[in-house]
Amino acid sequence: MKRQYERPVIQKLNTGIMNKFGTRTEYEPYTHIDGVSVKSLIEQFGSPVFVMSERTIRENYRDAVRAFTTRYPKVQFAWSYKTNYLNAVCDVFHQEGSWAEVVSRFEYEKALHNGVPGNKIIFNGPDKTDDDLTVAIENNSPIHIDHLDELYRLTQLASDMAKRPNVAIRINMDTGVYPMWDRFGFNYENGAAWDAINKIMTSDHLNLVGLHTHIGTYMLSPSAYAAAATKMCDLALGIRRKYDKVIEYIDMGGGFASKNTLKGAYLRGSDTVPGIDEFAEAISSAFLNAEFKKGELPYLYLETGRALVDNAGFLLGSVISNKRLADGRRATIMDFGVNILFTSFWYDHKISPAQGFGTYTEDTVIYGPLCMNIDVVRENISLPPLKAGDHVVVHYVGAYNITQSMQFIALRPPVVMIDMQGKPHIIKKKEVLATLEKDEVTPDYLKEFKL
């Protein structure tokens, strides 16, 4: 009987020198997602294909809710649409009880279309037109004001409409981490936040119900949230003292890191990223330690995106070819590139072979299929020898890839969701040329030519 074939490999051993890229990382093939084989998914839906696990989304959400509600009594999550706004994904979060957090008009419309009541759509973002604000006022949505121009326009609109919209202001602050996120909202330290609060409180047209902050993205430090929560509570208590106004909610935004590994990190994200309980402990403690009077404890809103969905997304792909680079390194060309895996610009994604392999590995560069030099999925990864047609699974791709993907050179693949019973459903179809050309308009005089 013939033996299983593996590509012959020879590699030089460098004793005494640490391998900058770490040791071998994959010991087991990743053959199934929620009980469905990778091979069958690729046979049914083609390669590449994004796969979302409904089970993982629900487990993540319930885990986060448990982490916060066991520490603080008034908690509300709002699903960050920009993280992944496929309707099926949003609906899973809404079924679990999550509101919607949107940063643009089309996201706002999406949330409405998904059936989220207007007063449960938090409207963030620096670019809200008069029309956007008018719709948000009519729907009684909490509007989070980003800058003074928006504040003035909103005040005028509210006056014209004879309505008093519920608003919050976005606060940025020094939380002890670098870089400080200070481009969104009003600064706490330089007095801009109080200036905006004073303007709202002395206006009859706006109802200040909340305070909002978003201190950063992929935050690895729970203590930064503790610092931010303390300052936010301080502001809320200051408003209570100065204006005798009880702030209904403090929105701590999102930014909790997922278990992905940042480029340049020595250790893997799964070993270094704090769990959701650590963030919950830091924020809840700051809220409980603030001197809110009995019955005036504000709601804690959370707009967690990445940490709830990143590990629920997988990208299945196949090897197109292998080649040897000028310096002797192995390069493997995959059928998925940076156009659909945008996060590979800042993450070293975990990539697992989807079929059995031997004990030998090679340092490999993973390239995508785009005819562009920037199309590098992994600059260096230790993988067993893969041959053309072999399948791989890219992990932690549920956040920001589907929303930031583009039809650059290659069209975008389908997205499949595996339900709680292990049945795959198409939730976004594979794109075709017509998808791309749908909105193109070619003037008639350009349509004819002779070559």
């Binding site: 013939k2 012959p8 020879i10 292998n322 040897r324 004990t359 041959k387």
Partner: protein
């Protein structure tokens, strides 16, 4: 192509080059090819042997044999006149 005579390959795939002090690791199929090369077998013979003993196809074997021997040359493990 002939690999250098003084190279020592252990059963576990550890290859030592006493001339330079370099050491290498070779996977099992690579070890078989290495031994066949050392015995003076031709590329055709080796490819035939692989096809008879492994579940693979001619194109794959040809591509991988080429890649493996390029690496042997790269690591200076073949006779200089090769």
């Amino acid at each position: 192509m002939k690999v250098k005579r003084n190279l020592a390959l252990s059963d576990s795939g550890f290859l030592f080059n006493p001339s330079t002090g370099d050491s290498f690791s070779i996977n099992p199929i690579g070890q078989e090819i290495f031994h066949l090369l050392k015995e003076g077998k031709s590329q055709q013979d080796i490819e035939k042997y692989i096809l008879e003993n492994y579940m693979t196809d001619k194109d794959t074997v040809e591509k991988d044999f080429y890649d493996f021997t390029v690496m042997l040359k790269n690591f200076k493990l073949v006779e200089d006149n090769e």
